[in-house]
């Protein structure tokens, strides 16, 4: 049975890439810890504890790498799973992007305006197409949350 480069990459990609990233993080933590000002005393050094953590991260990532090499991944479902996963990721990315835009929107617009827009777009992305629902629910949710937090819980929103 022959595998193309992509298939071989797919087979080991996830675990290997993840574990390699963790190993690199471990190395970076060790370097960062060593570079911290130790102030002459190793026991009180702010770098001592992160140094240990960095070593542990490397050890565990290597253990996981060794274990994952033994596991085989089903090739048959890989293609369809990839497509589905891609679609899901797009939806998730859209929501994350929207939330990231919501942060400056809250600062520059008022909380109520930003939230109306945010909820409206979220509902659109989730498949809501009734125009009255796209107007009524965002306005109602924004007002209830704003007044509930601002007046009820004394959490002053931007």
């Amino acid at each position: 049975m022959r595998f193309s480069c992509r298939e071989v990459f797919m087979k080991y990609r996830k675990g290997t890439v993840e574990n390699s990233v963790f190993a690199v993080v471990g190395v970076a933590v060790i370097i960062g810890s060593v570079m911290l000002d130790n102030n002459g005393s190793l026991a009180l050094s702010p770098g001592l504890f992160p140094l240990l953590l960095g070593c542990l991260i490397i050890v565990i990532s290597l253990l996981m790498m060794r274990r994952d090499r033994k596991k085989s991944v089903s090739q048959e479902n890989a293609g369809s799973d990839e497509k589905q996963a891609g679609k899901k990721w797009l939806k998730v990315l859209a929501f994350v992007g929207m939330t990231l835009l919501y942060i400056p929107a809250m600062q520059h617009l008022h909380f109520i305006i930003a939230t109306v827009l945010y909820v409206c777009v979220a509902m659109l992305l989730l498949g809501e197409r009734r125009w009255w629902a796209l107007v009524f629910f965002p306005v109602a949710i924004s007002l209830v949350i704003f007044y509930g937090f601002d007046k009820g819980l004394q959490v002053y929103l931007p």
Binding site: I60, V96, T99, I103, M123, I145, V155
Partner: protein, 515 residues
């Protein structure tokens, strides 16, 4: 001598009871009630669990006093553990993983037109489980905490390591991944000003990171936002919703499984105390036990036996008290929800252990009182609002999810009135989503973040004490408690190793064959 002792004991108990009842006033009951309603709603919605509910409450209640915050959290905790059974019975969809066992008999019973009986059985035995768990908490937590009085800095460090080693198996199928998550959580706690030397660590010149990574926004991101993102990618087909018809259910019918209920409660209690197992394991184990031990159930198991519902629901809710015991006594959470409650403790400057019982005994009373008032709300709301709740859970996702998203953002903002914290929440939401999709454990990461500072301080204190002595290694490790803790850590690590597990299994199999 004995009469003096008895008198002292009675006096002590009387003063404890007085302080306990002085907590329960109208505002307290209202806060627990508010939490109970939230828990009922969040727990019954498939996909959202007690963890999401408690995480959202933590964000709202951060600026409140400890009493109000803990009262509300206990309300959420008790009701969210129960309400997963509503959808399990009426829709055959467990609202939470712990309600899986309830679907096995709850749904068949509801299909026979006895939905009310199924729901009421669940209400009664969830209440029984919760009460048994909380009573056990009252009697076990304090004596257990006295052990911690003899702890050295190294012991505290090892106790945290033990917590992380065991919590690695919470909500994560892969132990190594769970362990890695907890270590990365500890690493996150190292970001910011070093508490001993005052030197900034891993801030990369970013001013906002000098204060460290805020726990609450990270927690909301890991449990709240990530849950919504996770649910976005789940295709939900419209499930059939059974209705609760008017049916007379006699109290004697509900109470006939009391033995199963008590047995289930005890199973749930023991499983709750063990870190890592949690409510799903407890309810399945109790159900399995009932199935094996009850020779003549009302109807065969799997066809609507009330004994099955009683067993799973009592165990499921008894986990609450069980999980709180090691959390309050030693600072080791028994499940994911207690991990979040532990973070609330640290946020309010409270450290679990013996000092909690001697210096701030009212906090322990708040938790117990909150739990018991929560049980009353469980009985009340479960009995009266279950038919209404069946309609609420049908709220479309396209309305529900935007509400949760906005609440996550507002909760993170409310932590410090800062939009930077909303950004942190979003980042951790993405991290949490990736973790959930790839069998990593957000609960382990949160515990690492919560215990990290404590571990760092105690480890360095132990190291500095040892360096000054003649034999540093002996100074650090040659103490009875230290040796026991080291042994427990090694056992915890080895028991999660597949090779060791296989060898133990084969050893037992060989012995069995020989017998």
């Amino acid at each position: 001598m004995d009469s003096t002792r008895v008198f002292r004991y009675i006096c002590r108990k009387e003063s404890e009871m007085q302080s306990f009842f002085s907590i329960i006033n109208l505002p307290f009951v209202l806060y627990v009630g508010l939490g109970a309603v939230m828990g009922l709603l969040v727990g019954s919605l498939p996909g959202l669990s007690a963890i999401t509910g408690v995480a959202l409450v933590v964000s709202i209640s951060y600026t409140w006093g400890t009493t109000k915050a803990l009262a509300m959290i206990m309300g959420v905790y008790v009701l969210a553990c129960f309400s997963g059974s509503i959808t399990a019975i009426l829709m055959n969809i467990p609202g939470a993983p712990a309600a899986v066992a309830t679907t096995l008999d709850g749904y068949p019973l509801a299909k026979k037109g006895e939905a009310k009986k199924a729901v009421l059985t669940s209400v009664v035995y969830s209440t029984l489980g919760s009460v048994v768990g909380i009573i056990a908490l009252v009697y076990i937590a304090k004596p257990m905490s006295l052990i911690a009085l003899h702890f050295s800095p190294m012991d505290y460090f090892l106790l945290s390591v033990f917590g992380l080693a065991t919590v690695g198996s919470i909500a994560s199928k892969d132990y190594l991944k769970g362990l890695l998550c907890s270590i990365i959580g500890v690493l996150f706690s190292c970001v910011g000003i070093d508490p001993i030397m005052g030197i900034p660590r891993f801030t990369f010149g970013i001013q906002a990171l000098v204060a460290g990574i805020p726990t609450i926004p990270a927690l909301i991101g890991l449990f709240g936002l990530s849950e919504v993102l996770d649910q976005l990618s789940v295709d939900v087909s419209k499930a059939e919703m059974l209705t609760i018809t008017k049916q007379k259910v006699h109290i004697s019918e509900l109470l006939r499984c009391w033995k199963t209920g008590i047995k289930g409660s005890l199973i749930g209690l023991v499983i709750g105390v063990l870190p890592g197992a949690g409510a799903p394991v407890a309810s399945l184990l109790s159900y399995d036990n009932a199935k094996k031990s009850i020779k003549n159930p009302s109807v065969p198991f799997g066809e609507g036996a009330v004994e099955g519902i009683a067993a799973s629901e009592s165990a499921n809710n008894a986990v609450i008290g069980g999980a709180l015991i090691p959390m309050l006594a030693l600072g080791i959470p028994g499940d994911s929800v207690t991990t979040i409650i532990l973070s609330v403790f640290y946020i309010h400057g409270l450290i679990p252990g013996p000092l909690l019982f001697t210096e701030t005994p009212e906090l322990f009373s708040i938790i117990v009182a909150g739990g018991l008032v929560g049980c009353m709300f469980l009985l009340l709301l479960g009995y009266t609002t279950a038919p209404l709740l069946a309609k609420v859970v049908q709220v479309p996702r396209k309305i529900l999810f935007p509400i949760i998203l906005v609440l996550c953002c507002v909760g993170a903002y409310a932590n410090n009135n800062s939009l930077y914290e909303v950004l942190i929440m979003t980042i951790f939401g993405v991290i949490g989503y990736y973790m959930k999709k790839n069998d990593y454990s957000p609960a382990a990461m949160v515990l690492g973040m919560v215990l990290g500072t404590l571990m760092d301080n105690n480890f360095r204190r132990a190291a500095s004490l040892a360096i000054g002595s003649e034999n540093p290694l002996a100074n650090m490790f040659l103490h009875p408690i230290t040796i026991i803790l080291l042994f427990m850590i090694i056992v915890s690590l080895l028991s999660n190793n597949k090779t060791v597990k296989k060898k133990i299994k084969s050893l037992f199999l060989k012995k069995g064959k020989a017998v």
